[in-house]
Amino acid sequence: MIAVAERTFGLLALVAMGVALFTAGVLLRGRVPGWLRDDVALPLATAIAATATGGSLLLSEVAGYLPCALCWYQRIAMYPLVLVVGIAAVRGDREVWRTAVPLSVVGGAISIWHILIEQNPGWGGPCDDAAPCTILWVEEFGFLTLPTMALIAFTAIGLLTFAARTR
């Protein structure tokens, strides 16, 4: 069951990566489609934040993967996004990017640091059995570890909320 959940989160991360790339593309071209800006961006950003939050809770509380310190810092940035962006999606608040983008940037920066520690185990020191930040609890498709998925989620949420902003 956990293996299926991990694969599901891996596939969802790939989809989120596609969403982030598409959104970055339309933002760079300065042509955000109306359907994305008006109807999809905020609900989709909420869904991504909710999936990341639910996934992290499932893997820690059900699968028993102990979150390390950096995992907690990323959670601090991700969990509020569910409510912040979710309420904005319901209310049609297009200015939510002013809160969501900083949270996403901070969370994404921590994810990048976590990924670097994963890639360079010597940086993280020895492996404390309790919760080392170097451990690869999940590795889907050879590159999607938990902080990599978190980075994709933060990027997608930040870009989507920015795409939904008032023109």
Partner: protein, 226 residues
Amino acid sequence: MATQTPNARAEARRAEKEAQRRAESKRQRLIYGGVGLVVLLIIVVVAVATVGETDDRLRLSDVAGSPQIEGDTLPPIPEGGEDPAIGMTAPVLDGADFDGNPITVGERAQVVSFVASWCPACDAELPEVVAWQEAGGPPEGVDLVLVSTNMDDSRNNWPPQEWMADAGYTGDVLVDDVNSSAFQTYGLQATPSWVVINDEGEVVFRASGMIDPAQFDQLGELAATG
């Protein structure tokens, strides 16, 4: 019969358009939500179909050993300062490797590395240990022994014997028990941890964390002369 002013008619038209726009937006969102659910369903089906059957994998209880431990537990490695375990008699671990061949730690000159297969630092260091072993390893009379400890069948690089074999390690291995008793008895808190024992069975060095491969030879010399 009531009549509307032009302004009221315009206002009514605007309200009607706004209501239509909202209804259309709601309809669009329902469609997008439906598409999202279908995508999610497809992803779950793909995940179920592509995840292999794992019931036949080895469990921790299949792999863990049951080393007999004699001697006093060593104090923890201090954060700084002198290690109080230096000069103490090393606990004797009388156990076996993954194939059941007897292995003893603590009775003779040995360089011992406590490793966990899931530990990225151990994973990064093992090839260096293998390279040292292939280059001659410790001096004559000194053994290199890995202790497979902190084993967890839910983590990556399981089982540890495959992890070691994949890295090319062919030396001695002592397999710790399910409670990591050998690891605990040596006063260790993290992997990898290194312990050097002289030929009188005394601890002459302990360290937690990766060691510069250039220092491996010094560990061997320490075991031989310490």
